[in-house]
Symmetry: C2
Subunit: 261 residues, 2 copies
């Protein structure tokens, strides 16, 4: 999604070309491509599949929609399994028509509904706490503390957490919560980008590392101290960067990764 | 500021006309109007001056700017005193060029610098924690917990807190922190509006109570349980509402206040 203008196969070969070793795959990017072809494309380019994006969106005031969301997540787990992607990222969801606490309970119940199947398929789940500015419709889980509480409630190795600096950088308890997450072996993914000053769009104005005010290196250090040794995933949604030539953008990403993360 | 298109005198008479009993005054709204005239206008319209807006913006990587901010806050305290406004709202500030923790220390030092003068002038200060989406440049204080910590550090009746539902509604510890704030007699102001779904601008797309997903009535209940008995101030920054006829907007505000707060 970081290089949204590129088709999946293009992205894979260009990533390999600049030395990127892994990729998280958004569902719509591989729509209509067989699992065998996806696996082959990854293999040919020496890319590790990091995660499948994005499950979740569980809460709703409408029971039929909650049920449909669970079905859809089970389908995504099946798809991930077929492509041999080991992790499904969960953007938990929220329904502005009900209290956040109700949405959180529905999230917990829904995770409970899919956890067994995830384990059976060998696909783990990562709860991604989102920035509070997305609490209306995207996630009732708005802090790493809440995500830790949820993961520890289940205490199941199939369930962990995705830490994204964009959503959590301002939290004065972040170091402590990353440590806690590591102690419980729940650090499953790490996403980096930057918070631009000013940020002109709530969804698609993320910055390259170094373009903003997030202490990415410091947070990466906390992740490593807490035992995380997975991929540092550059996840940038940016109309500005998507409008560039994507080879140029990829070169900028590599540069920013080397110097500011 | 809620009725930004209206001049100060117009706002006062129109507020009185719809039964509003108090007003918080932004500095630029009374630029060039004498304190005597401001006081007279309030008196004629039966309006209580709630607060003067907005002091703060203390942190900077530049020491000269930090000093200038303190001077400016002292001037605002003087202005508030002359207009007999009993409270200065503090938007604490943040400098994206330094860690949030550094900004918080500068905020604490700066509050310490002006607290004595505030007490002498009989003007209290209210720290307003802001939404984390403003952590880059507007406030390193992004939670009621941090504001409580700061107020309790000084433990001075001149310093309290302004609770704004827009900035804090998603916080799962909000009820507890409002209670804590009340126990320490630090509930100095209460601002209401709503979070629109979707919100299309980070600054000027606030909604009328009932237009969004904030449980305003519930939070107001927590404020009252915690001992707050001051004004419930409608604070809406909205290009959409500012574009309306402001008499119509004022009628909508009164309606929303009666039905959704």
């Amino acid at each position: 999604m970081t290089t949204k203008p590129l088709k999946f196969e293009e992205a894979c070969s260009k990533y390999a070309g600049v030395g990127v070793k892994g990729i998280s795959i958004w569902r719509d990017a591989v729509q209509g491509i067989s699992a065998a072809k996806v696996k082959n494309c990854l293999k040919e380019n020496g890319l590790t599949a990091v995660s499948y994006v994005r499950g979740g969106f569980f809460p709703s005031t409408d029971q039929a929609k909650r049920k449909a969301a669970i079905e859809d997540n089970l389908t995504m787990l099946q798809e991930a399994s077929e492509m041999e992607i080991p992790l499904l990222v969960i953007v938990c969801g929220a329904d502005p028509g009900q209290p956040l606490q109700t949405s959180r309970e529905q999230i917990r119940n829904s995770i409970g509904e899919i956890l067994g199947e995830a384990a059976k398929l060998g696909v783990r789940l990562a709860i991604e706490p989102l920035h509070p500015m997305y609490a209306d419709t995207r996630s009732a889980i708005t802090s790493l503390k809440q995500a830790n509480d949820m993961a520890e409630y289940f205490n199941d190795e199939t369930l962990g957490i995705a830490v994204d600096v964009y959503h959590l950088w301002f939290d004065d308890g972040l170091k402590e919560q990353i440590n806690r997450c590591g102690r419980h072996n729940n650090l499953y993914a790490f996403h980096i980008c930057d918070w631009k000053v000013p940020t002109t769009d709530m969804l698609t104005d993320r910055g390259l590392m170094g373009e903003g005010c997030i202490p990415v290196k410091q947070i990466r250090g906390w992740m490593e101290e807490a035992g995380f040794s997975g991929f540092n995933e550059v996840e940038i949604f940016s109309e500005r960067h998507w409008a560039l030539d994507q080879d140029r953008f990829l070169a900028d990403i590599v540069d920013a990764y080397r110097n500011h993360s």
